[in-house]
Structure formats: C-alpha cells, structure tokens
C-alpha cells in the first residue's frame, strides 16, 4: 500500500476524462490570464513606482498635481481591471487540475497579500500624498513591497516548484 502511494505521489495525475491538459479552452483561459496580468499589473507597477519619485520632486505647481493625479488614476483603474487576473487564473487552474498544488496555493496567498498592500496601503497612501506634503518614503516602501510580492508570484508561475504537469 505504501509502495503504491509512493508510486502515485511521483506520477503525474492523469487528466480527468474528457478534459485533457492543454485543451483549447484551457489555452484560451491561460492566454486571457497572462494577457490580463501584463496589461493590468504592468501599468500599476510603473505608475505606482513613479508616484513617490514624482511626489518627491514636486514643487507644488498645478502641473505636478495633474501628473500625480494621473499616475494615481492609472493605479486605481488598472487595479480594478486587475481583478480579471485572479479570476481567470482560478479558472485556468481548475481547468488544468492544479488548484490544490502547493506552488499555486502559495501564489494565491501572495497575490491576496499583494492586492491587500495595493488597495489598503498604496492607493490610500497616494491619496494622502496628494492631499498634503506627507513623507513619501513610507509610500515608496509599500510600493516596493507590492512589486516584490507580485514578482515572486510571477516567478512561482514559471518555475512551479514541485509541479508534475510539465512546463
């Protein structure tokens, strides 16, 4: 029995009947997921990273305020668009049958953390900087934490440690 268990543990789990790995729908779901990640998370990363630097150099002119407002708007709008990334990610994972894998559960937890940092710390921090001349160092730290979290998730998605379904 133990031998069978050991054997099963290192063998790839066979695809569920009628739903092979990498079917057309799975590929489409994965494409949407990756495309959404690039289109939604990319702008947030760039705009959020620029925000503290622009705020630091700002001299209180109307133009500076407009630039900051625009950067904040990009972060806000694309954070909302970013909801498609985990939703289609979960759909892809279900379709691939990898939803219970450790690398994926870790990614989900880290993604939730990154979303929490963005919505609860970065976006309110940007509003606070816009409203007054508070210190931008804390906001820069939060932004760095957000970038680090989702970069880790991206690496996990590619490396997939412990995955048996192949690259």
């Amino acid at each position: 029995m133990a031998r069978i268990r050991w054997y099963l543990a290192i063998q790839p789990v066979p695809p569920p009947p009628g739903r092979p790995y990498g079917g057309a729908v799975t590929k489409l779901l994965l494409s949407i997921h990756v495309l959404a990640a690039i289109v939604a998370v990319g702008p947030v990363t760039v705009a959020a990273s620029m925000f503290p630097a622009v705020a630091r150099r700002a001299t209180g002119t109307e133009r500076d305020a407009a630039v900051l407002a625009n950067l904040h708007r990009i972060c806000r709008v694309y954070a909302a668009v970013g909801i498609t990334v985990p939703v289609f990610g979960l759909a892809t994972a279900t379709s691939l049958g990898v939803l219970g894998d450790a690398w994926l559960l870790t990614s989900i937890a880290l993604t939730a953390g990154a979303a929490g940092v963005l919505v609860l710390l970065v976006l309110p921090g940007q509003r606070a900087v816009q409203a007054s001349t508070v210190d931008t160092r804390r906001l820069a730290m939060y932004t760095g934490a957000f970038n680090l979290l989702w970069a880790t998730v991206t690496v996990l998605m590619i490396v997939r440690p412990g995955s048996t379904t192949g690259a």
């Binding site: 729908v25 489409l28 806000r76 909302a80 909801i83 498609t84 289609f88």
Partner: protein, 88 residues
Amino acid sequence: MTASASLRALRVAAAVELISLAILLLNLSTVHWSSVSSLLGPTHGCAYLLVIILALRQPRANAKIRVTALVPAIGGLLVLRQLSKTET
C-alpha cells in the same frame, strides 16, 4: 476616474453580469457545452466583482447601494437604478 466614466463602466459591467449569467443558465438548461461554461463562468465572475468595486467607488453610493451591489445577477442594475434615484 471621473464620475461619468465610472458610471459608464458600471453600466457595462452590470449588463455583462446579467447577460453572461443568462447565457450560462440557458447553456446549462439546453446543450450544456462545457467550453461555454468554462469561458463565461470567469467572465460573469469578473463582471460581478467589478460591479461591487465600481459601486463601492461611486461617490454618491450610500451603505444601502453598496450592499445592493452584492446581489447576484441583477445587483449592478439595482445599483444603477438607485443611483439614478439619488440624482433626482
């Protein structure tokens, strides 16, 4: 996001929320193609979550409107109706 752009996005999300669910249920009760379910399921989920996020961000939204956004399928439409009421 300006108020009108946010409201327009809410309109689109509300429509997608309802139409996608209608097609999903229609598919379930008739041909039941798994690929339709696989693709429209996440689409409906995204629309549902976007309605909630956009409703939370509406400057005129009160507590009642925010809770209404959580209603499945027609939450977005109910929010739009209540927002148009607060306007007058």
